[in-house]
């Protein structure tokens, strides 16, 4: 049978590559919804054998918060900022996509080097987790709008969440809650700061945040 697990994971890889290739903020939010759905379905599929109430509740809560609340907040933020695109990222989109392909190769290699002492649902899980984490980090570094940085942070958290639910037998419940709590509070705090950024700097360009320097008065 064609593996549904692998299909979902490959879908995740494709969404990451899409993130790297596009510059439209609206697309980022839609991609985030798709990614969240993929990760949640993967969690449900992988833990089919022991779907305890805990797993179901966590997945549902996570899904609701991440697929509805966050996109709503982000879209509102984008609309108030009247921002549509990343105009000048630090690394161009074509180059980002190319680097993304290299990162996927690197994560596959890293994944193959990590011996699995426990039953993994698919050989692809660890590489895809690494790839999502790398994508999130790369996006944070290379994009120059504050809202994109927040979304990239969410991508990073998605990768970590994926790892958590893939090994839910071993991974601690508290940390899953911790991820949710962390992301929720972080989003709210960042949202508030973004609002202030817009008023103070009149732009959400993070490259302008370079007034604090080491030399010179």
């Amino acid at each position: 049978m064609v593996s549904v697990n692998e299909g979902l994971l490959v879908g995740l890889v494709l969404t990451n590559l899409f993130y790297l290739a596009t510059g439209r903020l609206g697309t980022y939010v839609k991609l985030f919804i798709v990614q969240t759905l993929l990760v949640s379905f993967f969690g449900l599929v992988v833990n089919q054998g022991y779907l305890s109430t805990r797993v179901i509740i966590l997945s549902v809560i996570g899904l609701v918060i991440k697929a509805f609340v966050f996109p709503a907040l982000l879209t509102k933020s984008i609309r108030t900022a009247k921002l549509k695109r990343e105009i000048q990222p630090l690394v161009g989109f074509g180059t980002s996509l190319f680097i993304g392909i290299l990162m996927f190769g690197l994560s596959s290699w890293l994944g193959s080097r990590m011996p699995m002492p426990v039953e993994a649902s698919s050989r692809l899980v660890v590489p895809v987790v690494f790839f999502t984490v790398f994508t999130g980090l790369f996006l944070i570094i290379s994009r120059s709008k504050a809202i994109t940085e927040v979304i990239s942070y969410l991508v990073l958290e998605n990768g970590i969440y994926l790892f958590g639910i893939s090994f839910v037998k071993e991974a601690p419940m508290l940390a899953e809650l911790g991820v949710l709590l962390d992301v929720t509070v972080a989003i709210f705090v960042m949202g508030i700061v973004i609002r202030h950024l817009r008023t103070e700097f009149e732009s959400l360009d993070v490259n302008k945040l370079s007034t604090l320097k080491d030399w010179g008065v």
Binding site: V10, L14, G94, L97
Partner: protein
């Protein structure tokens, strides 16, 4: 590895028949594409057999050669047609094996297509006109990005089948392999489809109908050819579409029944279905901005790389 030439002439009747069918039916593809576009546009469009009439007309005309051109300009169309005719012998069509096969022939195929493109390009550069030069540079840039996609996709396919020969690879694909490694095959076919659109100058990479010279890519390269030369180029391009199409349809519709007639029929349906699909895409989408095309092609490469990594694990 791949250079231990094991040229086997599996030239049974079916394979040769496939080549003949290709030679005869390829120009029909353009007709089908155009009819589809006309259908979407509420027009009648030109007749299905128009390409045949065009070829006949062109062959009867005389050629005009500019004084700035040299033998390269005259050689271009001839060589390109010859090479693509050779490529036909290596592509498995209609569920049969290809006429000639050896280990690693997918690389040979890619390079045949490369030689064909190369000769058209240098013929265009030979005219000394900057228009052709512009078209040539764009074409070469896009092909440079598309080639890794094609090679990696075919390599992934070969690794999946465990053999470096196209014939063996394609004969090994059937519907059950879709069940087993469907994701890989899906990614590979997506990559090949994108390369097909690029190499055959289709929307969203290039618009074959554009009459604005600044937006042409492929059209402008062949602008100066006339008469039998242009006929050679036209015939070469339909054959190239047939080659790519068979690569694509071979993965998508791997019908391997006992009767070769059934296989051939399914294959033909697939090819013309592909033509309809291309026509639909051309009617529904607009051409992409030139600056987006590299990203699009990198996407194809990404599909192919993912497929390769999945196969390697």
């Amino acid at each position: 590895m791949i250079f231990s030439m094991n040229i086997g002439f599996f030239g049974n009747f079916s394979s040769v028949l496939q080549v003949t069918l290709a030679l005869v039916f390829a120009p029909l593809l353009f007709g089908v594409i155009n009819k589809t576009k006309a259908f979407f546009g509420g027009r009648k469009g030109f007749p299905l057999l128009q390409t045949y009439f065009d070829l006949a007309k062109l062959v009867r005309k005389g050629a005009v050669y500019s004084k700035t051109t040299s033998w390269v300009f005259r050689a271009g169309p001839v060589v390109s047609l010859a090479v693509v005719l050779m490529a036909l012998f290596f592509v498995p069509m209609g569920g049969s094996r290809s006429v000639v096969a050896f280990e690693g022939d997918f690389l040979f195929l890619a390079y045949c297509l490369g030689v064909m493109r190369f000769f058209i390009v240098i013929a265009a550069l030979d005219t000394g006109s900057s228009f052709e030069g512009m078209g040539a540079s764009r074409e070469v840039q896009f092909s440079a990005l598309a080639e890794p996609a094609l090679l990696i996709a075919l390599a992934a396919l070969a690794k999946n089948a465990g053999s470096l020969s196209l014939a063996v690879t394609y004969s090994g694909i059937n519907f059950s392999s879709w069940l087993g490694s469907g994701i890989v095959l899906g990614l590979i076919s997506a990559a090949i489809f994108i390369v097909l659109l690029t190499e055959n100058a289709r929307i969203p990479v290039d618009d074959p109908n554009t009459h604005l010279e600044l937006t042409m890519i492929h059209e402008v390269m062949v602008l100066d050819h006339s008469g039998p030369d242009f006929a050679a180029i036209l015939y070469g391009s339909v054959l190239k579409l047939w080659v790519f199409g068979s690569l694509f349809v071979g993965i998508l519709l791997p019908v391997k029944s006992a009767s070769p007639v059934l296989n051939t029929l399914v294959f033909m349906t697939g090819m013309f279905g592909l033509a309809v699909l291309i026509g639909v895409i051309e009617s529904v989408m607009a051409r992409m901005r030139l600056t987006y095309v590299p990203r699009f092609l990198l996407g194809a490469t990404a599909f192919a790389v993912i497929a390769l990594i999945l196969v390697l694990r």
